[in-house]
């Protein structure tokens, strides 16, 4: 049991990025009511933007591997802005015309979008995976007591993800557009009656959802290789978190991520060969939750 504090710490740190990715997905599901299968591909696009920035800063500008804080400070807002604009465009020209159609049509659209984006990146760039030689990927922070040490990247990803999640919650709670989003989510017709421009709210919500995905993508280059195929792994976990939190329950995402992050770590640590089995955990959770409480654990029936 001496590894327990470390197990919990890694589990908690890991849940930050999970929450950020899942929150974007939950917004498109909760506010607009569409299942965005392409969400993971937008995370991938964010990662490529981050990687491009890393290359530019460390290469031509000659800043070397010390650019880590700069990549985060510039990369996250930059890629979030780019994908916010892209998201609004994508919504306006592809999703909006399909909103009145059966849900299956919308799912087919986002599914096709995922395939299109992934293969466009393969063709335009390369299928080869890339590694960012960022200093923060490797530098260790010694934790008090000296029992465990973690990379700067791991801590930064958790802190920034949680800050972005908190920022999004504030936006939803305090701002006019945030309140409109919640109103639309609760009752589309009612929102229309009181004069909310529903389509515009949807468009902003979709842009916001992609902006969060982009931020998560930039942080991903600090922990894994960048390739056109990283979207799938990302979205599978995000989906199970959204299901666990209750479809469309925006505020349940954080604790669902924490629960899953820690559970994953505990299973890998204490179950023999758990590291190979832990991905199965996600699917077991989806299965059980949908069977027992289809509304999600966070909602009373």
């Amino acid at each position: 049991m001496e590894a327990l504090p470390q197990t919990l710490l890694f589990g908690i740190l890991r849940s930050g990025l999970y929450a950020l990715t899942a929150l974007g997905l939950a917004i498109s599901l909760g506010v607009i009511g569409i299942v965005n299968f392409a969400h993971g591909e937008f995370v991938m696009l964010g990662a490529y933007l981050g990687f491009w920035l890393y290359l530019t800063l460390s290469g031509p500008l000659g800043l070397g591997p010390e650019v880590s804080p700069l990549v985060l400070a510039v990369g996250i807002p930059l890629s979030a802005l780019v994908l916010f604009i892209v998201g609004r465009g994508v919504f306006r020209f592809t999703l909006r015309p399909l909103l009145a159609r059966p849900e299956l049509d919308q799912m087919l659209l986002t599914f096709g979008m995922a395939i299109l984006i992934q293969n466009s990146v393969v063709i335009a760039l390369s299928p080869q995976a890339l590694d960012a030689n960022l200093g923060w990927r490797f530098e260790l922070i010694e934790m008090p007591g000296g029992v465990v040490s973690v990379t700067y990247a791991r801590v930064a990803a958790f802190v920034l993800s949680m800050a972005l999640v908190a920022g999004t919650y504030l936006l939803l709670a305090r701002t006019r557009i945030g309140k409109q989003m919640r109103a639309v989510a609760q009752n589309r017709l009612g929102a229309m009656v009181v004069g909310i421009h529903v389509d515009r709210v949807y468009e902003v919500a979709f842009g916001l959802s992609l902006a969060l995905a982009a931020g998560a993508g930039v942080m991903l280059i600090f922990s894994t290789q960048v390739s056109p195929f990283i979207g799938l792994a990302t979205i599978l976990k995000a989906f199970s978190i959204v299901v666990l939190a209750g479809l469309g329950n925006l505020f349940g995402v954080v604790w669902a991520s924490l629960l899953l992050g820690v559970a994953e770590q505990v299973i890998s640590q204490y179950v023999p060969n758990g590291a190979a089995l832990r991905d199965g955990l996600f699917f077991l959770i989806i299965f059980v939750v949908l069977l027992v409480r289809p509304g999600g654990l966070g909602r009373s029936r």
Partner: protein, 408 residues
């Protein structure tokens, strides 16, 4: 109106995707045209040799490396007068890393181009698909790659078949020989849970202790390739008391695994990694230091032929070979042509006999000779060398007679 626009966008995207897929330049025509314009008209008919390698698709990087090796050898051979005055021509076909394409390309080279010898070969999966067409055509075959024992079994009894790369079990033997030389008895095996990792891990668990009495594998851990977090399993390895760690990851797992080993404070005396290939610029990352692995070749092998090859390669391409596949392809073409010089074109039996007499001081280090292996009669290289990343470079540390640096 908007709906129409969206549909148009999507169709445009699909069309763009389709065009992108087919707009690849055809390497065959390019090669044919180049030789056609340079070959003098009065000289004897050029000798056609086929090279079946992946020039696009997931294995393209290695395939391109091979092509550069072939082109360098071809240039030198033709400049030195070719085969009794006849220029040689290498016709490349792209297998795209896909077995079905490879079979079609094979038929094209053998039946339409009527090549003298079939060269190339990289992936085991593709070579396995070629066993039947190869037996049917019975055209002389000088095959560089494919390490799978199943392929060797498939080509059993085919006297026209010559194979260069060591077989799977010879890779294993080279690895065990090195691991045995390290004074460590408690090992941990960490592997990805696909066919590649599971297969290699099985060898380390079962065969290695047999060959190295006293050595035990105290813990075996599997992980899903592409996971970003390995800390829990590394913690288990740490508490197992293993002194040496053997990892069988895919390329993308290498850096996360090594980084997280440091995070959990797992500091084995030796880390031995056998990914299909190390990540690009791996030497530049701080986690590379001290990691050992297996390769057929590095540019620092202390053999005169290696030095000459690297210098010639650099002169022609203004860069260093990316992997051992460039000198392997070079060796492939040079030895095939040396045998052709003795046998003359169109004489299969004489060519086989000439190949059997091959003794070539290759740029890969050892002198290439063909001898019997488990199933086939003509196996070229039989062992690999162990290197260790030291100050960003691959230094050979085993076997001792080829070592460029002692192990750290």
């Amino acid at each position: 109106m908007r709906r129409t626009f969206a549909t148009t966008l999507i169709i445009a995207g699909l069309v763009a995707a389709a065009c992108g897929g087919t707009a690849q330049p055809s390497p065959t025509t390019a090669a044919t045209q180049a030789t056609a314009t340079t070959a003098p008209t009065a000289a004897p008919k050029p000798i056609k040799l086929g090279a079946l390698i992946p020039l696009t698709g997931p294995l393209a990087a290695t395939g391109q490396d091979m092509k550069e090796g072939y082109e360098l050898a071809k240039e030198q051979i033709n400049a030195a007068g070719g085969v009794k005055g006849a220029q040689i021509e290498v016709i490349y076909e792209d297998d795209k890393g896909d077995p079905a394409t490879a079979v079609a390309s094979w038929e094209k080279l053998v039946n339409n181009e009527k090549v003298e010898v079939m060269m190339g070969g990289l992936s085991s999966t593709i070579s396995l698909a070629l066993v039947e067409p190869a037996k049917k055509a019975a055209v002389p075959m000088a095959w560089t790659g494919a390490a799978a024992t199943a392929f060797e079994q498939g080509m059993q009894g085919q006297d026209f078949f010559f194979h260069y790369h060591p077989w799977e079990y010879q890779n294993g033997d080279s690895a065990y020989a090195f691991l045995k030389s390290v004074a460590i008895t408690k090992w941990a095996v960490i592997h990805e849970d696909g066919a590649f990792g599971t297969g290699a891990a099985k060898g380390f668990k079962e065969d290695f202790p047999k060959q190295a009495p006293g050595a035990t594998v105290v813990i075996t851990e599997a992980f899903k390739t592409g996971s970003t977090d390995f800390t829990a399993l590394l913690n288990r390895v740490k508490s197992s008391g293993a002194e040496g760690v053997i990892i069988v990851p895919n390329t993308g797992d290498v850096i996360p695994l090594l980084t997280q080993m440091r995070e959990v404070g797992l500091k084995p005396k030796i880390t031995y990694a056998s990914p299909p290939s190390f990540p690009a610029n791996f030497g530049g990352s701080p986690v590379a230091e001290g990691v050992a692995g297996l390769t057929l070749w590095t540019e620092d092998i202390p053999a005169p032929a290696t030095k000459t090859f690297v210098a010639d390669f650099q002169k022609k391409y203004n860069k260093k070979p990316v992997s051992y596949w460039a000198p392997l392809a070079y060796t492939n073409l040079v030895t095939v042509v040396e045998a052709l010089k003795k046998s003359g074109p169109g004489n299969k039996a004489a060519w086989i006999k000439a190949m059997e007499e091959t003794s070539y001081a290759s740029p890969l280090g050892p002198t290439l000779k063909f001898s019997k292996s488990q199933f086939v009669a003509h196996q070229g290289f039989t062992s690999l060398v162990t290197f260790q990343w030291q100050s960003g470079k691959q230094e050979i540390v085993f076997p001792k007679d080829l070592a460029t640096k002692p192990i750290k």
